[in-house]
């Protein structure tokens, strides 16, 4: 392993931490972590893991660096935003300057079921750095299918949460959420401050270090949630929520989010510079709440009892009650999907 060749002096402070030690450091060098999403959480976790000497990191992200990312996405500098560099590639570049002794593989692309299924099969652990629940449910299925742990994280405003899932032991994301959230707060709609990103990523990364160094006993079984602005911290036991009939972690799993028909669908509407986005299952959106959120976020809105139209500057997105949306001003399906998820979750 490449990770083993370099001087151990650089990890000396981590080796002195008794629960890791020299043995744990070697285990880290032999580990392979998959990071899905290289936004705020993903880039913070990736940097900590690279500094800690995890031997192999695979980072997948579909996005490029934008000016508005710089306020909290720590691997990126102004130059990356000016050049609209893909996040995964920009992350690999900076991580290489930080630790040239580890293997970093960056993938610029969509974390769809097929791709993640393949990547998960080769990883020891998955870190959630995504910004939407569609991808999280795909990760959830991949992790339980391949029997590897994954660590969920999320944040918005000054509020965040982290939860570690160990297949065969922990209730999964389905059990936790019961149903797929139809409409959540996003960083686009409610904003976000840098410290909550670091706090969530700190929880995720500490859990990863425990798992990779054979300290499974130290893993928090609890779902932890906190608000740094309002000074709240809660740790919730999850034992009671496991559902035997769960299609991901129950007795007869079918991993539903790996099926194509359960994915969000996009179609380019010919000659109109418009993409139609359709959620996997019909939603029941509250357009009024959504209109308020969008207005608070500074967008022009208009609409009628059947639809809500949001003007983002570059695009206009028209959303219907059942979750269907038309994204005008683009023929790029990936961009339309991204805009949809950034506004609706």
């Amino acid at each position: 392993m490449k990770g083993r060749d370099c001087s151990m002096e650089r990890y000396s402070r981590q080796i002195r931490f008794a629960s890791i030690g020299e043995n744990g450091q070697k285990q880290l060098a032999d580990s392979h972590v998959l990071i899905v999403g290289a936004g705020a959480l993903g880039s913070s976790a990736a940097e900590m893991l690279a500094r800690s000497g995890v031997g192999r990191l695979t980072i997948i992200d579909r996005d490029y660096v934008e000016e508005s990312n710089l306020q909290r996405q720590q691997l990126y500098a102004e130059e990356d935003a000016e050049m609209k560099w893909p996040k995964a590639a920009a992350a690999e570049k900076r991580l290489g300057q930080i630790n040239g002794w580890i293997d970093i593989q960056s993938i610029v692309g969509e974390a769809d079921p097929q791709t993640l299924d393949k990547l998960a099969a080769e990883a020891d652990l998955i870190i959630d750095g995504t910004d939407n629940f569609e991808t999280r449910f795909i990760i959830n299925d991949c992790a339980y299918k391949h029997g590897i742990p994954w660590i969920y994280g999320g944040c918005v405003g000054s509020f965040g949460m982290a939860y570690t899932m160990l297949p065969g032991k922990s209730p999964c994301l389905h059990c936790l959420l019961k149903r797929v959230p139809v409409q959540t707060e996003t960083c686009e709609t409610a904003g976000v401050i840098a410290p909550i990103v670091q706090m969530v990523a700190a929880h995720q990364t500490a859990e990863a270090l425990k798992l990779l160094t054979g300290n499974q006993d130290a893993v928090a079984g609890q779902y932890r949630s906190f608000d740094l602005w309002h000074n709240q911290y809660i740790s919730v036991k999850t034992d009671s929520i496991h559902d035997e009939a769960c299609l991901t972690c129950g007795e007869s799993p079918s991993y539903p989010f790996l099926e194509k028909e359960n994915a969000m669908k996009t179609t380019v509407l010919c000659g109109r510079s418009t993409v139609q986005v359709r959620p996997a299952a019909p939603k029941e959106l509250n357009l009024q709440t959504m209109a308020l959120q969008a207005r608070k976020a500074g967008y022009e809105i208009s609409g009628n009892p059947y639809l809500l139209s949001i003007e983002t500057g570059e695009n206009r997105i028209v959303v219907f009650h059942d979750g269907r949306a038309l994204v005008h001003g683009t023929s790029d399906e990936a961009q339309a999907k991204k805009l949809y998820q950034s506004l609706i979750g």
């Binding site: 705020a40 750095g129 910004d131 999320g154 949630s225 034992d239 509250n286």
Partner: protein, 78 residues
């Protein structure tokens, strides 16, 4: 009976405070949620996670005097 309710994220903003003490008529989480929705005009409650005394619960969970209920909405950001 007296119940303490902890509100997180947008729910806190909507209620104007992070902690509420209330006198509940009824004894299930479902009844509590109905009160919260009506009196504090909280939105998107049905998709929130509920913890009673730091353990996850569901709508049928029966509450008792002095319980502490936390309402945790899922958020997508990352």
């Amino acid at each position: 009976m007296k119940i303490k309710v902890l509100l997180f994220a947008h729910l806190q903003e909507e209620a104007g405070k992070g902690e509420v003490e209330l006198e509940l008529q009824g004894d299930t989480v479902k009844e509590l949620m109905a009160v919260m929705e009506k009196e504090y005009r909280l939105t998107r409650l049905p998709q929130a996670m509920i913890a009673v005394n730091e353990e996850f619960a569901d709508e049928e969970t029966v509450l008792k005097e002095g319980d502490s209920v936390a309402i945790l909405p899922p958020v997508s950001g990352g």
